[in-house]
């Protein structure tokens, strides 16, 4: 009976599709995706295109904006490198060694994902301010973290940490013991085994994690703006400059910077997809 009804109501429905609901689910998905994501995002590009190339370059690449890009991208790159090293050590220790509280510490690694960025921002600022617990320790050595570009990197390291640990951990877990045993029995030293067997196996995951941390750091706002000090040309990040331009009613300026950042995040997304494909290929090749 229901078959007859389907045929009456939707004569175009394909008979061999046994599961219902594709049309409804797909319609809902596309409608929400278009209304919430695609149409608003296209507004940025449409506004930029309407600006004309010369004006776009003039407001999107002026010296103050260039300095902000340099800090956002340079800082995120440095933070990703630090996270690559520190995240690898953390993942290694959490996967390979046993010590009291290991599971709780493992769970805490996700804190930067769960803690709202504004809270992270004021907490880090308080720690590294000259009067803070860590800032006070560093001051006698003449090291200033809060309200300098160093502070920007500190915030980006915080926000990017889980990406590296969480992408490297599963690969380290799945690594076959026999590979290491074989290397050992063939006379390799521990260091040689690590360098020539383990590192190549986890390299795709490590690179992916660093790329994800980099992408997050470039666009990060909440955790950075409190600790940065936001001096134009020195410690002002690109997302903050978008906000500043908006507050000055300079919509064109904000849109141009946003367009540059969007294009860059799309390129990064593509790169991360390629990296993941490399990872998958490496996985099947093994």
């Amino acid at each position: 009976m229901s078959g007859a009804r389907v045929a009456l109501w939707r004569p175009w429905a394909r008979r061999r599709e046994a599961l219902p609901g594709f049309g409804l689910a797909m319609g809902l998905t596309l409608a929400i995706l278009c209304l919430v994501v695609l149409i608003p995002l296209s507004a940025v590009f449409a506004m930029s295109a309407g600006m004309g190339w010369e004006r776009f370059v003039a407001v999107g690449f002026e010296p103050r904006v260039m300095a902000a890009y340099r800090l956002s991208f340079g800082g995120a790159l440095l933070a990703a490198a630090i996270n690559g090293l520190a995240g690898l050590v953390v993942a290694w220790v959490l996967v390979r060694y046993d010590f009291p509280g290991r599971r709780m510490i493992d769970a805490m690694v996700d804190l930067p994902f769960a803690l709202p960025t504004a809270v992270a921002g004021i907490a880090l600022t308080t720690l590294y301010a000259p009067t803070g617990w860590l800032g006070g320790l560093l001051e006698p050595w003449g090291i200033k973290v809060a309200y300098t570009p160093v502070g920007v990197v500190v915030a980006m390291v915080f926000i990017g940490l889980p990406f590296v640990v969480r992408t490297v951990e599963p690969v380290l877990e799945e690594l076959d013991d026999e590979l290491e045993e074989a290397a050992e029995s063939l006379g390799a030293s521990r260091w040689q085994t690590v360098r020539m067997v383990i590192v190549p196996a986890i390299l795709p995951a490590l690179t992916t994690g660093m790329a994800l941390a980099f992408a997050r750091g470039v666009g990060e706002y909440g955790s950075v703006i409190f600790i940065a000090g936001n001096l134009p040309g020195i410690s002002e990040i690109a997302p903050l400059l978008i906000v500043t331009r908006l507050e000055q009613y300079d919509t064109a300026g904000a849109t141009a910077i946003a367009t540059v950042m969007l294009v860059l995040s799309f390129v990064l997304l593509l790169l991360i997809n390629l990296l993941q494909r490399w990872r998958a290929a490496r996985h099947t090749a093994d």
């Binding site: 998905t29 507004a43 045993e181 706002y221 919509t251």
Partner: protein, 281 residues
């Protein structure tokens, strides 16, 4: 699950050194910031801490945050279920592209996520003049805050459910349909019980982000005290007014939310590991 004993490992001094390095790094970047929030909130004792939490502006911020989450989370739940049903149970052209598009909000800077709605609905935006003529306010008002929150949280439920439902296949649903169950009945009685833990996991993360979002909401909010400030924005206002006890007291609410989310998430990962997709990839 404790790590299984490996036959080959590093010398003892190396293991100890690496452990200390990792723990030192995590203390510096995880434990100390958390301790700083609680320490600053309680710096002058319990009373100023409690007083900061019950001011009218704080209560208004809490109400707005709860309202925003109450709209954004169910909407994302519906979106996530619909997207996962279409993507995981069916094959169609450009399926991979659709998955990438759903993940898009994660790779957009929060500030840009707010800006796009200003460009759509702001006074200088596409629809702004039309809306203003009809007296509808979206930017610098609650609807803008809700929209920006929906944008930044959109992928959470979908990205949790898609791999999970894909791994479960469609045999069970097909069997139910063949046996005469309707589409909704099949979904409620067959699909939903299979994905409930994954769904809860996605909702949990979605909710944490919805309540804690700062950048995107900051751009569209207009920062009108007691009117368009969510909890994170209220923290910023108090901090910029040098009311550090107040700022950290309100921030400790959000830190508590983060800790509860982490605990619930970890619990789900331990107890229902097999029914979650996050760790099978």
């Amino acid at each position: 699950m404790p790590p299984h004993r490996r036959p080959v490992t590093e010398p003892r001094w190396m293991r100890v050194t690496l452990c200390l390095l990792a723990l030192g790094f995590l203390t510096l970047f995880l434990a100390l910031p958390l301790a700083a929030v609680l320490g600053q909130a309680l710096a002058r004792g319990v009373e100023p801490f409690a007083a900061a939490l019950v001011t009218p502006d704080t209560m208004a911020a809490i109400r707005l945050t709860l309202l925003t989450a109450a709209i954004a989370v169910p909407l994302n739940l519906v979106f996530g279920l619909a997207a996962a049903w279409a993507i995981a149970k069916f094959r169609f052209p450009l399926r991979g592209l659709l998955v990438t598009l759903i993940d898009l909000p994660f790779s957009v800077s929060p500030v840009v996520s707010g800006l796009i709605y200003v460009l759509m609905f702001g006074l200088q935006g596409w629809l702004g003049p039309t809306l203003a003529a009809h007296g509808i306010k979206i930017i610098f008002a609650v609807p803008g805050i809700v929209l920006a929150t929906i944008f930044v949280t959109l992928p959470f439920v979908a990205r949790e459910l898609i791999p999970l439902m894909e791994a479960q296949g469609r045999e069970e649903e097909e069997a139910a349909i063949v046996l005469g169950a309707g589409g909704w009945r099949t979904f409620l009685l067959v699909t939903l019980p299979n994905i409930k833990w994954g769904l809860l996991y996605g909702v949990l993360l979605c909710n944490a982000r919805a309540m804690g979002e700062f950048g995107a909401v900051s751009v569209v909010s207009g920062h009108i005290r007691g009117m368009t400030t969510t909890i994170p924005l209220h923290v910023e206002i108090l901090y910029n007014e040098y009311d550090f006890v107040g700022a950290f007291a309100v921030a400790s609410l959000l830190a508590l939310l983060a800790l509860v989310t982490l605990a619930a998430k970890t619990f789900l990962e331990w107890v229902h590991r097999d029914e979650l997709a996050a760790h099978t990839r």
